[in-house]
Assembly symmetry: C2
Homo-oligomer: 95 residues x 2
Amino acid sequence: MDIVFKAINDPTRREILRFLTHGPQNAGTIAQQFNMTKPSISHHLDLLKQAQLIDFSKKGQFLVYTLNKSGFESIHAWFQPFTLFFELPKPKIRL
Amino acid sequence: MDIVFKAINDPTRREILRFLTHGPQNAGTIAQQFNMTKPSISHHLDLLKQAQLIDFSKKGQFLVYTLNKSGFESIHAWFQPFTLFFELPKPKIRL
DNA sequence: TAAATAATTAAACAAATATTTAAATATAAA
DNA sequence: TTTATATTTAAATATTTGTTTAATTATTTA
């Protein structure tokens, strides 16, 4: 659980996630988007992977990254009680 | 924006938020829930406040903390594109 | 007004994090 | 089979973060 929150705490990692909503991308293409070294991006990708926010598959010499639903489901599950808290109308009288 | 993600990155702060779904609580009552000094909790409350995830009002010598919708709305807004990404059925054919 | 209570702010420090450069691994092309 | 390309792993380091103890502020009660 912790790892998902850690993963989305970083602005670069959030941008990577946003970039991947455009579709699968290989590591180099992702790295090009940022003014940062490849090893740094590689580290961010690793963390996002650990959090199950992304996944990858090997295509020849390339690693192609995609969004992974399960990490996002964790966030959604955590968020749910607060949605209920704010959206459920509070009873005005004690029953 | 960043501050909200920073705020929810810490497990103690997430527990504080969860605790506040039970209703408004003063700082001392919150601190009692944790095996941690009051100054530490006070610092966590300050961060949650900065992130607009909580708010407080003074009641005599007590500070009463409550959940604040606006921080949660920021999270929801960030999450929205991913909801769309995963839940929108992808067209199987190119139109 | 003096003492007690509720809570924060400040200073110090250990642990965690993001970044870089350099080295390593794996695949493809010449 | 050598060279180039894509990417990761490792080591080093500066910055950020969470915690504690000590000091401070504000309010209540005796």
